[in-house]
Symmetry: D3
């Protein structure tokens, strides 16, 4: 029924996720020379595209999206980035394959994602992933709950924390600071028009800086975008996420 | 009460918006050599920053956001981009000033924005702006309703169409195709979890291609992000927008 | 598709709104001898009906409503009232034309409207218009947002304040008193069942009298009625409003 | 805690409601020479005010509203109208006492109410009361559910129908025409912005005329106003309603 | 249209409810030897089933539910229980007839109901019925509002209190303790995910014990179940309830 | 902060869940002689209580609930039932420990649960668990999502199906029959007042019998109860569930 690209195949069946040394997908790549490909277009010629078709797709992630969008030729930067994913995570996250029909869209997505989730911030990477999952729970986004729920489990080493974020962040036994952060992010998701100075003041009183408030807002905003693109296209997460860090 | 950066000043009082030749802000710059600055870091040294402090701030847009984030030194690409804005629009849109505390964030935002709103697409630029405003109306985002409401007025040459998008897109007398597009975008905004194959099929029946459906989703998603960043930071639009193309 | 009365024609194309001396529609007529027509039936014979068909209807306001209701003969009081509108505003507000299929309904509407919005009150006329627009924004009523948004711009001399009321009243930089007033009106609109003594106490603490609380409630209530009649009939505002007091 | 007028006293303890000949409050008075007092100001001198203080207030309806608004001197028209209520119903409905602090407000309310609910219409009086109650149920308005629930019981001679309207109109076993009417009224109440031509078409297909659609809308609108004024002021219905027509 | 069991007939037309000595249905039976039938299976042989078909069904309660589920042979315990209902209340509550297609389901329902609503608790039976009705009002459940609204009127001897619970519990003039109880129950109904320690603390401060909090939760939970079974099956209350204790 | 019973201790750390032979908690016990304890009070004397305190509680499930309710002495039937749980599942589900402060409440809960979820039905046990999780997802109930999400994984042998039910049942690739079943259950959860004959007809057309419709409604209803009791008391699931059947 749903039309899907035959060119987008999931590669994660060949993956051997390094479970003893958690390597969150789309997370440990930052800092590497292909981390921010959009910003380094000069290196385009060097790398060969990752052979994305080697593995049989698993039940849930083939097709990856419900739109029939033929994959474009990967730019060298993106080919290198996909190869890094494959080498380090054992698979290329499906969201990247979904965007791979257009190199500009893929590169800008990767650049924004890597800056927000892996760049410098007063928020830890775990905290940013917690926001990602709490927002995605409000929006009931299957892709993001799966991929970023795994990330929370991995970064925290606490499988339950990942489940709490997925199911109802209010049950998590977290610091007041983190609770304030999630309350803000979820309110911003559910009723953005109602966020006002009092909400920002609560974050300041919980110890967040002006820049931290921007980062909480930007991560929450980013997943409000991604959740909708994923839902609009019926994006399917790599099945490997489900078993990670349980 | 709201803390704000003293370094971010609105420049639009000095603006002489070319009203006889509408130049939508953040819209006509694309195609120019600084249009996608994130992708052209090699040109960084050439341009001087725009003197952003020349004009007295107007009541509504000073401070631009409620967070005190000192402006960073503009990268050469961004300096050139701001200069182009100033030259062509008569002002630098406040959202760019809001992001100017961090060049990576500014550049990735500009790159994604320009690709989505000005890049190639089966959707006209007006249609993308219509989505922007209908989504922002659902989220009651003052900044985006103001800036993109002006864009709808300008692109369409129909001031009423802009008001319809701001107030209730259902009253607009538009084509069935455009109505289907907005229905999808607003449903995706209000209840993303409920978007399914039937919704995509309605778009296909209205004449949209697979790629068009991606673009509708991506533009709707983008403004669900931007609306939230704007609301979270109490971002204020340049006052010049209010009078454009009435 | 929508059926509409051929007898109801918009006259505002001939209007020359006195912009240097703002004359809000349905606002400056009060105090005049035809202001409260329902109460002065004795004068019915004196005036001739306004020739309402002189002007070509503009795109948006023809037909005025989506119901085919032939205009009745104007009563003398209403004919005089329409003539006053024409003389002073340059047009007859479409809501009056919409009600003009039945003189009793028109007269009771005008009587209630004029008392509420122009009669004596502890609330200024601007404040009453602010309530009108904030309520209409909650209900996303195109007609009322347009007509009363113009009124806020005119009474306040502040175009931005009108836009704030239309888009999200929470962004307006108004007094605590006015904010309390709008919070009450919007809560009463969104969840009337939840309004209780605590809400009234907040108004009292903000300086409102018992009578003021009645007036806030009555104006909010009135626009909850008008919004619904306008939405139910797809009522179209005179296009002249869009450009007023920008 | 709630302040209330000492001048507003409920009179219904002295009432002897004519149960064998149902006389819905505010319903059977129409047609009488004081029915539309706002339109007949010339008769003001003739009648003495009704002695409203004769009866001890019952628990629930003293004070009638939570605002301290001293009763004004009844105009002759209103005095006559109150006397008619007393004579025919055995009591003056509390909503009239609530408005009696200001004769203009009382008269315009009565004029609009009587036209809408008792004037000529393609809708029967029972149907108008059914709309009143279904709307008031959506808004959870205690006053209107009580007073108009009693009216539905009286007009229909079917106590269960009144309860259905109060509790959930969807359980009533009514004609398709009436169901369409209530679906429209309740949708208009809950999400007025979403009412469109398709909704009007459903009413037309159910047999309603253009004028009927106006009337459904106007009655639904009126109770969206009254519900809010009642909730805002904590208006209490006469206790006599509770036992009527059970 | 709705299919219904011919075997389920309402018996309440023959009922002579002891109005001078209120006997709330499903309420005064507890303590009796058949009160908790599920727990007393040893007595199964003794009693004959109640002849449920004697009376002509009234308009509203025939069929009792919209599912065609033939009545099973009553177990001796349930036959005895139904006989007690008939003897003491004058009728068998329709909910029991609805469950009578399966003795296990009937017995477990009766056992849980009787324990919760009639067993020992720090909450009075009236308070438990108040919760039942406030929850059922939130869920707009016709069956439960009718049957338990009557119970509130009977237990309290205050017809108005029953109406308050049905229409909007916030208008009831009850103790702070009872208000806190209902606020908790209704919040738990409307947004269970948002109930947290602060909500429990409010109950403790209002004087409720740990066990009381369980009971409030369990009664609210039970009616969230019953409301849904009643709505899913279009369950109709015995018409006799409508007139009780007015 | 949250008070909790010292007498309720989680036993699942000692559990050796039979992962190779999935034994869903509270699922495989049915049919056993202690399965329906409330119905078999005659066997009360035989068994000794399970020593519930042997194991150290895990982080998440100690205390099990936020109410301080000392455990009662287990009735013989319940002691036998708990022992069976321990023997077969390796742990006693925390919900049973939560109810163990009162034997009547525990027994009626167990009796109703076992009948609904394990008794005869046209719905498979997996289908009933799917309803349980989809309903619990709508209500964001941490306890039930965890315990019954594990059950869906176990019964189906499909870990992804469990995640789909937890995150957004609409993404599951299930039969039209099962989709209709879940649509009904979730609508009944979210807006029970709006369920009508058309909804039942959709189930019939999908192949469900009258009795099946009851069962779908009853299971959905039951979890609307349990979700609320769990949320009201901050009930914590046994940690062992999280890792089951991944």
């Amino acid at each position: 029924m749903a039309k899907a690209s035959k060119n987008l195949k999931a590669a994660d069946k060949t993956a051997k996720p390094a479970r003893t040394q958690p390597q969150p997908a789309l997370r440990a790549i930052k800092g590497d020379k292909v981390a921010s490909p959009a910003a380094k277009p000069g290196k385009r010629a060097a790398l060969k595209p990752v052979p994305l078709k080697a593995a049989a797709p698993a039940a849930d992630d083939a097709p990856i999206i419900a739109l029939n969008l033929p994959a474009a030729k990967l730019s060298p930067a993106m080919a290198a980035y996909f190869k890094k994913c494959q080498d380090r995570l054992g698979f290329v996250p499906n969201v990247l394959l979904a965007y791979a029909f257009d190199m500009t869209k893929l590169e800008t997505f990767v650049a924004m994602y890597n800056d927000l989730m892996l760049g410098e911030s007063g928020l830890s990477k775990l905290e940013r992933e917690m926001i990602a999952v709490a927002v995605s729970s409000q929006n009931r986004c299957y892709y993001c709950l799966t991929a970023h729920g795994a990330a929370v489990r991995q970064y925290s080493g606490n499988p339950l924390l990942g489940e709490h974020m997925v199911m109802n962040y209010r049950v998590a036994r977290i610091s007041k600071r983190q609770r304030a952060m999630l309350d803000f992010a979820v309110k911003l998701t559910a009723s953005p028009w109602s966020v006002e100075e009092g909400d920002r003041e609560r974050l300041r009183r919980a110890g967040f800086s002006e820049r931290d408030i921007w980062d909480i807002s930007a991560v929450a905003g980013f997943f409000n975008m991604s959740n909708r693109i994923a839902s609009a296209t019926d994006m399917r997460p790599n099945t490997v996420y489900h078993g990670q860090a349980r």
